[in-house]
């Protein structure tokens, strides 16, 4: 076991972990933050996407010990985030989720895209969603939602 301390959703957290514990398992099992989902555990589905020091990361591809001192944000940590609120509302209105299992990762990817590129083209939205698997929706609602959110954030006259 190794003792680590880091910030999770703004709160200082100190825990003993096995070095082999992924950040995802750490969040889910040690921090009881289950919005972060595991769909593949090899970096290919995006369901486990979180922010580490402001950059999106697949939490199945990081060990918790590697995140010592870092700032980790999960979907639970975006409850009062205006950008996320706009995106979530757009997801709701665009029927961008069915079973909801991919949704946390999709929201993370969407937020990351819009914070880097506030007015993405449809192609850019799709490219940002590559590697995020949704088995249910066929993606069109998700793509629509992100474009809708973008318009609401930066209205074009």
């Amino acid at each position: 076991m190794t003792r680590i301390s880091l910030h999770v959703n703004g709160t200082a957290v100190e825990r003993d972990v096995e070095p082999r514990t992924s950040l995802a398992d750490f969040l889910r099992e040690s921090c009881a933050l289950t919005a972060t989902h595991l769909g593949c555990e090899h970096g290919a589905c995006g369901a486990c996407t979180v922010l580490v020091d402001g950059m999106i990361a697949r939490s199945c591809l990081k060990f918790a010990v590697m995140c010592e001192g870092r700032e980790v944000v999960t979907l639970e940590g975006l409850a009062d985030d205006a950008l996320s609120d706009t995106i979530k509302q757009a997801f709701h209105e665009s029927h961008a989720l069915q079973c909801g299992f991919c949704t946390p990762g999709m929201l993370m990817a969407a937020r990351d895209l819009l914070s880097r590129n506030p007015i993405p083209s449809e192609d850019q939205v799709r490219a940002a969603l590559a590697g995020h698997i949704c088995r249910c929706t066929g993606y069109s609602g998700i793509v629509h939602a992100i474009i809708l959110a973008s318009r609401r954030l930066i209205p074009v006259e």
């Binding site: 979530k88 989720l97 949704t103 995020h132 088995r135 066929g138 609602g141």
Partner: protein, 785 residues
């Protein structure tokens, strides 16, 4: 009495935003892997590394004997009989953990329990397994040759069942002016719900019951299977399906791991959990498709299709899954070969074959994607042979509106709709002449363009008649609903179907809102817990809106009637002079709120009309007035660009014209269509689990198993027409599967269209770049020689 879809309230047909979204968007959903119980430990399975072998020995690691389980630890577990109830269907006993033999790579052999999954996997690595390898059976057709190794020694050959389906006048076919023989193959894939399977189980000592959190499409039926396997009475098992992250058929069978986890929970005295990982999912969850067709289509000189003859092999894998196995694949594949066409003769030998691969189960569209692929490709091949537009050939053969109801040669009753209109609409959407112009203007070196069509029907809402005909062990002939109005006038409805993305919390509330003239926000739909919901079969086979929608509608209607009677009593009016509106019973002189009525019915019995029973609490079952099913249908039209040099296929336009009867919530219908098509495109272009000659699967992670993403799946343009069904409530038909049925056929036809000049055939899915390129080379080589 049938509800009139257009009378009042406006809730039926409204694109109401979904009630289930909020918790998912907040990250507060609860899937099985999110269930937390004190003392929970994880399970990892030891799995077979070989495709076929006899188990010589299995040794538990020293010191860990009490944490490692083999089948020998469960002498009283029952092996369930599975497959249709037909003597001709051979039994393939499938133990919860392998007993004497292993029959596919990935079969569970032992289970290891430890405080974390990582530790359980450590333990699993230490279990010593010794198997003597047997020859692997990997090709479903070769498996039927007399010399083939056999999976089950007691069987005479490797077929679970062999059947010939023969109907109509076959004598005319031999001399038909056009006779084309083609082979088709739809390869094996996985269902790939994004949430994998999962079980959390524990013994509740207070209630003396086994509580099983299960990611399933139908908890009640799973409880029945678990009870039989474990030898427990059903009233001592509670199955809870919390949020379920997709199923698509794969979670509609009881798999051995699920039984094993429950058996372990009964032994160890603390909660246990198994969450399938993605490799396990691709190795050993439900596999699907894997159809082989060898068919001859006959047509007269005007292109009227006369008949289909040939063989269909279904590579069903090593075991039949409880309850029904994959027997339906063969009969449905054969039965759907005539499609929506006026084909008058059918003679198909079907073979459901056991191979050393993971067992096959249902996947969205069950058998029909394969059948649709075969018939729709055949239609295009006949058109190519005749030198006419495939669109034109379809027009000549599609059943017309006037001919409905039409009994197909395979015995399906196509009830309502306008297939020609669907085809015309889709054709107009993609603009065939424009595609032809672009093709003519193409310069050498530029990518090729092709347009393809596929027409499909989707049998939905089929009940007793159809499932008994199929000799199903479980006959999902009805659904149930319990509707309760609580003292304050709010409504809770419990149903036996299982929402796993379909939006039942919203659509069923819309139906109840329609009947009660109440806002859907005051109605809560609950499901997924055998302790609280009435018996139901679950969500599959495009049945929920027909059956559960019907059950909710008819039961709520009865409740509304009682409310009306009480209201009339309150208002001292004649019951026929009052109506319900907006949470009130209204007469000419006054109105009374549901809340007052509900209060009386629940806690102020003395206020009720004389002799009336208390409570506003009704349970009802529903089945459509005819149970052969109602057919949704549509046409998919796709325009593709093919890079001849790489074989790469890009979708330029995808248009659908469909009719699923009355739409309760058009937004959700569109979501089902788009989502189904996405899966169909996966089947058509990307997803495949190939096997090598030793029976080793070659796609066990997403590095090799290609899942299409937003960069691969276009937004589909959807046109609806609405022909209400005659035998269901509100005129609804199912819509869950249709999207997944037609895409492989439409895509292959589009690619073939792009290569019309060299008459290349694209008869195997997925159409990977390599397959596309190979098909063109073969055609060119053929033309040259």
């Amino acid at each position: 009495m049938s509800g009139d879809a257009h009378s009042s309230g406006g809730w039926i047909g409204a694109s109401l935003l979904r009630k289930e979204d909020a918790r998912h968007l907040a990250g507060k959903a609860m899937f099985v892997a999110d269930v937390r119980l004190p003392g929970l430990q994880d399970i990892a399975f030891v799995r077979s590394q070989i495709a076929h072998g006899r188990i010589v020995s299995m040794a538990k690691p020293a010191g860990a004997e009490s944490r490692v389980f083999t089948i020998a630890d469960f002498p009283s577990l029952h092996v369930l009989e599975a497959g249709p109830e037909l003597d001709a269907f051979r039994q393939s006993p499938y133990p919860a953990l392998a007993s004497d033999k292993v029959r596919y790579v990935g079969q569970a052999m032992a289970a290891c329990v430890a405080p974390t999954r990582a530790l359980a996997e450590d333990l699993a690595e230490l279990v010593q397994v010794d198997c003597s390898e047997l020859p692997a059976v990997v090709d479903a057709i070769a498996a039927m040759s007399p010399g083939s190794a056999r999976l089950f020694e007691s069987w005479a050959d490797n077929a679970y069942i062999t059947r010939t389906i023969s109907a109509g006048d076959l004598s005319r076919l031999k001399d038909a002016p056009i006779r084309l023989r083609r082979k088709f193959r739809m390869n094996r894939q996985a269902t790939v719900s994004l949430e994998t399977r999962g079980v959390v189980a524990h013994w509740d000592a207070r209630l003396e019951e086994l509580v099983v959190y299960l990611s399933t499409q139908g908890g009640h039926v799973m409880r029945l299977g678990l009870a039989r396997a474990l030898g427990l009475p059903e009233n001592q098992i509670r199955v809870i399906a919390p949020d379920v992250g997709g199923g698509f058929g794969g979670k509609n069978r009881l798999l051995p791991e699920e039984i094993a986890v429950c058996a372990i929970a009964l032994k160890v005295g603390h909660p246990v959990r198994w969450i399938e990982d993605r490799r396990e999912h691709l190795l050993a969850s439900v596999h699907c498709r894997d159809h082989h067709y060898d068919l001859i289509v006959s047509a007269d000189s005007e292109g009227h299709l006369l008949g289909i003859e040939g063989d269909v092999h279904i590579d069903a894998g090593a075991y039949a899954l409880w309850p029904t196995g994959s027997f339906m694949e063969a009969s449905m594949a054969a039965g759907n070969l005539p499609g929506p066409y006026r084909i008058k003769a059918l003679s198909v030998n079907t073979f459901t074959v056991a191979t050393n691969k993971a067992p096959m189960g249902p996947y969205r569209g069950v058998a029909r994607p394969g059948a649709c692929f075969a018939i729709e490709r055949l239609v295009d091949e006949v058109a190519l042979h005749m030198g006419i537009e495939p669109y034109e050939l379809r027009k000549r053969n599609l059943v017309t509106r006037e001919e409905m109801p039409y009994n197909t040669v395979a015995g399906l009753k196509l009830d309502t709709g306008d297939y020609h209109d669907a085809l015309d609409t889709a054709a107009a959407m993609v603009d065939i002449p424009a595609v032809r112009r672009r093709q003519a203007e193409r310069k050498p070196g530029e990518p090729r363009i092709g347009v393809g069509f596929a027409v499909y029907t989707e049998q939905s809402g089929h009940g007793v008649v159809e499932w008994s005909k199929r000799k199903s062990r479980v006959v999902p002939g009805y659904e149930s609903a319990n509707v309760r109005m609580l003292p304050d006038g709010s409504v809770t409805i419990h149903v036996g179907v299982q929402n796993h993305g379909q939006g039942h919390e919203t659509t069923l509330a819309q139906i109840a809102a329609h009947e009660l003239s109440l806002d859907p926000s005051q109605i809560r739909i609950r499901y997924g817990d055998t302790a609280t919901t009435p018996f139901g079969f679950g969500s599959f086979a495009s049945r929920s809106i027909v059956f559960a929608g019907g059950a909710v509608g008819t039961t709520t209607r009865r409740l509304a009637e009682k409310i009306r009677l009480i209201g009339a009593h309150f208002l001292q009016a004649d019951p026929k002079d009052v109506r319900i509106e907006n949470g009130h019973v209204i007469s000419q002189s006054g109105s009374v709120a549901f809340s007052e009525i509900a209060l009386a019915a629940n806690i102020r019995q003395e206020m009720l009309p004389q002799g009336m029973d208390p409570l506003l609490d009704m349970t009802g079952t529903y089945e459509p007035t005819e149970s052969a099913g109602v057919f949704s249908y549509g046409t998919h039209a796709v325009v593709v660009e093919v890079d001849e040099a790489t074989g790469g296929v890009k979708i330029l336009d995808y248009a659908v014209s469909e009719d699923c009867g009355t739409m309760i919530n058009p937004m959700i219908v569109d979501g089902q269509v788009q989502g189904g098509i996405s899966q169909g495109i996966g089947t058509g272009l990307y997803e495949e689990i190939p096997f090598n000659a030793e029976g080793q699967p070659l796609a066990t992670t997403f590095a090799d198993y290609m899942m299409p993403c937003a960069t691969e799946i276009p937004t589909v343009r959807i046109a609806h027409s609405v022909t209400p069904a005659k035998v269901t409530e509100y005129g609804v038909k199912g819509v869950g599967e249709g999207g997944a049925i037609a895409p492989p056929a439409a895509l292959a036809n589009a690619v073939a269209d792009a290569f019309r000049d060299c008459k290349a055939s694209f008869n195997e899915t997925p159409l990977t770049p390599r397959r596309v390129w190979d098909a063109v080379q073969i055609a060119r080589a053929g033309a040259a020689s």
